[in-house]
Structures are given as structure tokens and as C-alpha cells.
Amino acid sequence: MAKYIVKRIAQALILIIVVACLTFLLMNLVPGGPFLSEKSPSPEVLAAMEAKYGLDQPLPIQLKNYIFHMVHGDFGVSLKMQKNRPVILIIEEMFPISAKIGLIALLIAVSIGIPIGCLSAYYRGTRIDSALRVVMTLGISVPSFVIATLLLLLFCVKLQWLPSIGLTSWQHYILPCAALSFYPMCYTGRLARSSMLDAINQDYIRTAMAKGASTKAIIFKHALRNALIPVLTFLGPLTAFILTGGFVVETVFSIPGLGRYFIQSILVRDYPIIMATTIFLAALVIFMNLIVDIMYRVVDPRIDITKGGN
């Protein structure tokens, strides 16, 4: 197992470098640059600025330099948004804000999503099931900015129960977390429903019935444990994405999180921030996938992750 994890981490490092290279190239394919705007500086000033940040060199050299510095833990400084501030510090400041909301949203999504999925599967074909399915399908198909705006309209404007923007009290967390958790909650619910339905019809459920096990034991001990694998697969990458912040939700509620910052950095071509946030997200996704793969083994003893593949 230890050998396997070491191998996976080595693979992850290579993958991160590949991601960095691709992002770098794609980023530079987009026309424009950090110092080009409506009020363009004079050509001399522009040239001096580009020379300062090494942007005057040919792309392969720039890439080589970036990877070299990256491997040494230096992700550069912001070019525009917080001029000359190290990118690492910016992420350190923004990530906890996004992660806090993300973590709460994730907990809501899992702790409500899985039970409603089970409920829906248990009462399959009844009105309870139909109602839950409508809600879950709605949650998957309605974009988060619609949900966020509707929540804002209802609770802040009409009812005036909750504050609308910022993050100064615990009440401020309610709406963003609700908006952010709705889609994953519904998706988890649907996954849980379908895999529970599959599990309920398995022979070992009949065996448990024959033993005389209670309905509760049959649902939770036998069916749910076996139904968790697809949910787990979805939860890995989801965790990574939700922790780094929902761009739309952060924008609607004016939350100074990483998700909003990332999109803004793309708009102003703040190259080091784009690079660093992408790499950070990629590393998080890779890490979560590794965790999920290890969890598979815990959930299902038939899966041997150290074998197979290459």
C-alpha cells in the first residue's frame, strides 16, 4: 500500500507539470497581455515592464523558467491584481474563505443528498419518490446563478431575513452555502437513488431478509454500504472543486474567495495567478482522487487498487 501511494504521488507530480505546461501554452494563445488595456502605456514603458517580468523572452524560455521556479516552490508575483505580491500569499489568503464555504456546502450536500437518495429508492414508485425526483432533477438542471439570485431575491430583498453580501457574521454563510450545495446535493441524491435501487434488488439483500434482519439493518448495513461506490467517485473531484470556490456563487454574494479571484485573473491576464490557481486546483483534484481510490478499498474489499492498470 505504501509503495502504491508513493507511486501515485510520483505520477501526480508528473501530471502537475504537464498541467502547468498545457495551461501555460493555452494562456499565451489568448490574445492580449497583462499590461495591455485601454490606456496603453507608451511602448518604452511596456517594453521595460515586460522585460522586468521576463515576458519579452521567447515562450519556450518563459515556460522553462516558470517550471524551474515552480519546482523550487516559487510561483512568482501578481502582475496586476495585487501588484508584486507573491501569488502563494494571495492563495493562502483566499483559499480558506472559499474552503470554509465549500466545506459547509459539501457537508450539507452529502448529509442531505445521500438520505434523500435512499428515501427515494426505498419509496420507489410512490409519490414521495416522484416529488424527490422532481426536486433532484431541478437541482441538476437549474444553473447555480439562478438559484443564488432567487435565494437572494427571496431572503434578502423580499423577506429581509438574511444579509446579502459579505461574510461578516454566521448569517452571511447561510445563503452562499445553500446555493453552492444545491447542485451537488441533488446530484448525490440521484446517484444514491440509482445505486441504492441497484443494491436493493441484489440477492444478498434477500439473504439478509431471510436471516430475519430488520429493515433498518438491511437498508443501512447491506444496501447503503454497497451503494456508496458511485457516490464516492463523484465526491472526490467534487470536493476539490467545491473547496476552491464556486465562481458564480462567490460573485453573486460578493465573497472574496479564490473562485472569483481566479476568473478575474483570467480577464486581466494576470499570468502567475492563472498558473498558480490552476496548478493548485489540479493538485487538489489529483489528491482527492487518490483519497477516493484508497477509500474504495475500505468500502469494497473486492477492489484491489494496487493491482491492475500499469
Binding site: Q202, D203, Y204, R206, T207, A208, M209, A210, K211, G212, A213, S214, A217, H222, R225, N226, V299, D300, P301, R302
Partner: protein, 330 residues
């Protein structure tokens, strides 16, 4: 067995029916009549063989009897206690009977929870019925059961997928035996296994029956095995029981045309005999149990069908002593 006039009845099934709903388009429903009006008795200590082709309702019948599937109507009496009554819809708690009635499933790998170790699978049954005092006794029981079915006691810590099909079925049997049942439904326990393993399992089931005084309902489509193990045999066709009698009687003197057809289809491992036996080949497929034929359900394929067979459901009658059949021409 036929010389015993009135053997003790362990299980009695009266007019049992099981219909499954099938949706055919919006709001419209139809029924699969999987088990239609079946009555029979199983005697203490016997092996009651149940044969019939795939989809005839044998498995549904077996599972309905121990109420793993809720029957639609009819009555089931176990050892004098009514455990299901379609007329009086009162909820009878099955927990006590789950100890007395057990089942061995057809597919051993699918019927064992992949997330539990063998020890947990067997132990759960012990836990539900509180059949032990203290952890040590529980472990002893599990070890004893594993040993009983020819497995190693270390196997308790392994997961079902680590075993071969034959071993998995042994686990299934140990699991069923854990609660010390009186009656076991063997739902095609050997049809998913290699031929070489089949006889081992059959012999083990026979040994246990002798040792523990078990009563079996043995469901199978392999007629030679059923003949070997059964005291009496019931033949099913499309949800109906068409014939019932002592094992030897059914084999040497089959009365119902369907039973005759089934028996003529049994392969004989002797080419000489094989060439000279007349094989009855049925025409057409088994009709759909959603829309079963009127009258005798077998009339669409019966070589002897007459007009009455299409109109009237044949009566279930004792043609010869202890030999029942439902057919107009008898």
C-alpha cells in the same frame, strides 16, 4: 414413504397466488401471474422436489412460502401456525419463523454481501436471533458451522469473493444452518456450480438432512438430481402445479402430458437407449404469464389437447393414491 398413511405435515400451502404488477404504458397495469392457485403439503423430514422449466414460477413459489416475496393471496400454514393469510390481512411477524425456515440461493456469489467477511455473514444471523452468549461462544458457533460445511475456520476473516463458487455455496449453506432451521428452501442450489462440485453439495445436503432432521423444498430444473434427492416431486408449468406424486411414481408413471414431455427430455448417457427412446418435442414457446391461455394453461402445446382443455381449468385430483394431477384427459 407411501406406506406411511398420514405423515406429519410441516408446511401446508393453500391456494397460493402471487401476481406481479407490470406497467404497460401510462397508468395502465397488468399482472404477471407467476404463481396461480397452488396447494400442496410438505411432510416433516422429506425432500419435496419442485421442477419445471425456467420462468414457470418455481422460484417465486419457493420465496413466497417463506415470505421473502409477499404472496398475493392464499394461505400458508407452518407447523400448525398460519404465517400468511390473504383473507385476514394481519401483519404476522416473521422474525421467529426466520429461525425455522431458511433458504439457500441459486447464485452463491450474488447472495453473499460482498462487503462482509464470512464470519460477519454467518454471525449476523446469530446476532439477529441472539443465539449465543458472549463473544467466545459466537466465534465457536461460526467455527463449528464453517467446519460443518467443510471450510477452514480461518476462512471466517475472508471476504466472499476470495472463494470459489462451490465454497461460496458452502458459506451460503453454513449461513442458512446458523439459525438451526427445520425447513430449508433449496432454490436451485447447484445449478450455478460445476458438475464436479454439484454432487459434493448434494451429498452434503443429504448428510445434513439425515443428521439434523431437516425438511427440504428442493427447487431444480435438473431432473436427474431432483429424482435422486427427492421423496416426492411437484411439477410446475406456467405458474400452475400440474402433477405431484412420489419420486418414483413420477418417474415411472408420469400422468400429465407435460411431465411426460419433461422426462423424455432428460438426456440418457447411453446412445443405444437414447436412440430407442421416443422424445416428445413440444411446439411453440411457453406462453406469456401476463396473458396465460384460458382453461388448461398447457393446452396450446399439449399433443392431446381437446376442446374442453381450452375452456375449463382442469381440476386438481388424486388420480392414483398419493398421486395428483390436473388434466382433463386423465
Amino acid at each position: 414413504m407411501s406406506d406411511i398413511k398420514d405423515p406429519e405435515v410441516l408446511l401446508e400451502v393453500i391456494n397460493l397466488k402471487k401476481y406481479f404488477d407490470v406497467k404497460i404504458g401510462l397508468g395502465r397495469k397488468n399482472y404477471v401471474k407467476a404463481v396461480e392457485d397452488i396447494s400442496f403439503k410438505i411432510h416433516k423430514g422429506e425432500t419435496f422436489g419442485l421442477v419445471g422449466e425456467s420462468g414457470c414460477g418455481k422460484t417465486t413459489l419457493g420465496r413466497s412460502i417463506i415470505r421473502l416475496i409477499e404472496p398475493t393471496s392464499g394461505k400458508i400454514i407452518y407447523d400448525g401456525d398460519v404465517i400468511f393469510d390473504g383473507d385476514k390481512r394481519k401483519n404476522i411477524n416473521m422474525t421467529a419463523y426466520r429461525r425455522k425456515m431458511q433458504i439457500i440461493f441459486q447464485d452463491p456469489s450474488a447472495s453473499l454481501d460482498p462487503r462482509m467477511t464470512v464470519g460477519e455473514i454467518i454471525g449476523e444471523a446469530l446476532d439477529v436471533h441472539k443465539l449465543f452468549q458472549g463473544k467466545l461462544e459466537r466465534k465457536k458457533r461460526i467455527d463449528f458451522l464453517l467446519d460443518r460445511v467443510g471450510l477452514n475456520t480461518e476462512h471466517a476473516n475472508r471476504y466472499p469473493h476470495e472463494f470459489s463458487g462451490g465454497q461460496q455455496q458452502r458459506i451460503g449453506i453454513a449461513r442458512a444452518l446458523a439459525v438451526e432451521p427445520e425447513f430449508i428452501v433449496c432454490d436451485e442450489p447447484i445449478s450455478a456450480l460445476d458438475v464436479s462440485i454439484q454432487s459434493q453439495i448434494v451429498n452434503m445436503l443429504e448428510d445434513m438432512q439425515e443428521e439434523l432432521g431437516l425438511t427440504y423444498l428442493f427447487i431444480a430444473h435438473d431432473l436427474s438430481v431432483v429424482r435422486h434427492i427427492s421423496t416426492r416431486i411437484g411439477v410446475m408449468y406456467l405458474g400452475n402445479m400440474v402433477e405431484l406424486g412420489d419420486s418414483n411414481e413420477i418417474y415411472h408413471n408420469p400422468l400429465h402430458p407435460y411431465t411426460q414431455t419433461l422426462l423424455s427430455a432428460v438426456p440418457v448417457p447411453d446412445p443405444e437407449v437414447n436412440r430407442n427412446t421416443h422424445r416428445i418435442i413440444l411446439e411453440g414457446d411457453v406462453p406469456s404469464p401476463i396473458n396465460p391461455p384460458t382453461g388448461c394453461r398447457f393446452h396450446t402445446r399439449c399433443p392431446y389437447a381437446k376442446d374442453i382443455c381450452k375452456e375449463k381449468i382442469p381440476e386438481w385430483k388424486e388420480i392414483e393414491p398419493n398421486h395428483f394431477a390436473a388434466c382433463h384427459i386423465l
